[in-house]
Amino acid sequence: MSHGRTRITRTTVLLVALVAALTPVYWMITISLKIESDQFAYPPKWFSFTPTLQHYYDAFVTRSFAQYLLTSAIVAVVSTACALVIGTLAAYALTRFRLPYNLDRKLSLWILSTRMFPAIVTAVPLFLMMRDLRLLNTKASLIVVYTAFNLPFVVWMMRGFFAEVPRDLEEAALVDGDSRLGALVRVVLPLVSPGLAATAVFCLIVSWNEFLFALVLTQTDAAMTLPVGIAGRVTQYEIKWGVMSAAGAVAMMPILVFALAMQRYLVRGLSLGAVKG
């Protein structure tokens, strides 16, 4: 095993992987900044072009992408907040209390299993339900659905974080005279706050990126989320690549920022806590 050779192989593989991962994204960003003739140029212009912000203007000022952006943000934030509150309370109960008939374990597994449903399976009946409730094309329907969507994840993640807090601390708080909920708020929550933050970020990312439910439940400009807005442009007969790329670039920015901030917890979150990243 020659160390020099493995080192070169390793570095090469690394670079190839990096290039492969980032190039397509870079390409899209260049399309969003190129005038149309540059977009169709051959040989492909990777670096030598004059950038223009025309497409961004088109997307967000002339067309309704700014509105879609706002809708996405509102839906993501509100549904994440709801899922966090409801899910954290449930996670705490399931970690700290022993229920009869092993209910706490069974409930946790059951909650997790709801995450395994293919989205389309619940999307069709949800559409029918929302139609009957006259909630189609409203932000409210999305918020409610996304909360349910994120809940299992919150419960599962927070269970792991709560389990790491030693029971001694809550017992000491109880003996000191605090109520159960008081101990939760004053002693336990501050200690799991990094976990809470990471979970919140995950939920925000998932809600922001979500496509199928948004597609099914919202079709009007007033209620569409950003992904649906972008997709709409794609399936029309005349595809304005510039506008689409601009919208895509903006859609991707917040996610990248968040994901970078939460790197440490990423693997743990994505693997549902099975592996500590």
Partner: protein, 349 residues
């Protein structure tokens, strides 16, 4: 305030962890629950604190039956083995927590925290976080948090076991002084018999969930109720010799001496300090062989073999003997204890 356990029992599933425990603790007493791990002493403490439910029986604080009173309303303070300091709060906030929860006004809180900190000499630590403190310092903070409330009683769960030996001895003394100063009832759990002997006004020895003996340290040492207590308390532990009492004489292999007791199979117990080792034979002295000697500095432990028996004796610091050499033993037979063979009786109530 006085505390009373009345036929208290605790079972986890099918396992009985505490079995028919009855104890009466007077106001201001320092009672130690002593026993090996698994004997139920910690469970008893936790039942008193309200952290475990009582399977059967009653617990009273003063005249109040507290079985159904939730933990936070029992007005007891607890020092945990791990100290259980809140890691995200400063020392001052840790100590103030019980007061904050009772909604005491800020200046009152600060006053009490300051006076308790002065008492325990931790004033310089008030702004730090628990992780910045040493073991001994954290222990004092845990104590401070317990004291600041002026509760009805202190519960302590092996608070010294995480400290190194020297610190442990030092803290033992400080704890005793403190309790004397404050005069509050204290229930203290430990497996260390030295701690129990030095700290307690009365010791409750437990084994497998049952109370063995509840008495002053001196009585536990000099008049153990059964073989278990005799063996558990005292270091080095008591020597035991199996034998029979026949017509006024105890006979155990090569050890014989007259006794004023009835006959039967017995186990004779005698403490190392009641075996005197002589280098010259004397009448009635029992010959023995030296197995090994340990020079402790202030005294010498002599390990002996007498026939099939292995005994330990305490000798003066200047005692010397060669391994395998013969010595003679004079037993203080009036200090010998006798226990019925095999079965140890439980403390009769």
């Amino acid at each position: 305030m006085g505390i009373r356990f009345q036929n208290v029992a605790k079972a986890f599933g099918d396992t009985k962890v505490v079995d028919d425990l009855s104890l009466e603790i007077a106001d201001g007493e320092f009672v130690v629950l002593l026993g090996p791990s698994g004997c139920g002493k910690t469970t008893t403490l936790r039942m008193l604190a309200g952290l475990e439910t009582v399977s059967s029986g009653e617990i009273y604080i003063g005249d109040q039956r507290i079985n159904d009173v939730p933990t936070q309303q029992r007005d007891l303070a607890m020092v945990f083995q791990s100290y259980a300091l809140y890691p995200h709060m400063s020392i001052a906030e840790n100590i103030a927590y019980p007061l904050r929860v009772r909604k005491l006004p800020r200046d009152e809180r600060e006053k009490r925290v300051a006076s308790v900190a002065k008492l325990l000499e931790i004033e310089s630590l008030l702004d730090r976080k628990p992780r910045q403190l040493s073991g001994g310092e954290r222990q004092r903070v845990a104590l401070a948090r317990a004291i600041v409330r002026e509760p009805r009683a202190y519960l302590m769960d092996e608070p010294l076991s995480n400290l190194d030996a020297r610190l442990r001895v030092q803290m033992r003394g400080e704890l005793k002084r403190l309790q004397h100063q404050l005069g509050t009832t204290t229930i203290y759990v430990t497996h260390d018999q030295a701690e129990a002997m030095t700290l307690a006004s009365r010791v409750a020895v437990m084994k497998k969930g049952r109370l063995q003996q509840f008495d002053t340290p001196l009585n536990i040492y000099n008049r153990p109720a059964n073989r278990f207590v005799a063996e558990f308390v005292g270091s080095p532990s008591m020597n035991f010799v199996e034998g029979t009492i026949d017509r006024g004489t105890f006979v155990g292999a090569e050890i014989k001496f007259p006794v004023n007791r009835s006959g039967g199979h017995v186990t004779m117990g005698i403490r190392p300090e009641h075996i005197h080792v002589l280098t010259q034979p004397q009448d009635d002295a029992i010959p023995a062989k030296v197995y090994v000697t340990e020079l402790m500095g202030n005294e010498t432990f002599v390990f002996l073999t007498v026939g099939p028996h292995k005994l330990i004796a305490r000798a003066p610091a200047d005692f010397r003997a060669e391994v395998e050499s013969t010595v003679w033993l004079r037993l203080e037979v009036e200090k010998a204890h006798f226990f019925p063979k095999e079965k140890s009786t439980d403390y009769p109530e």
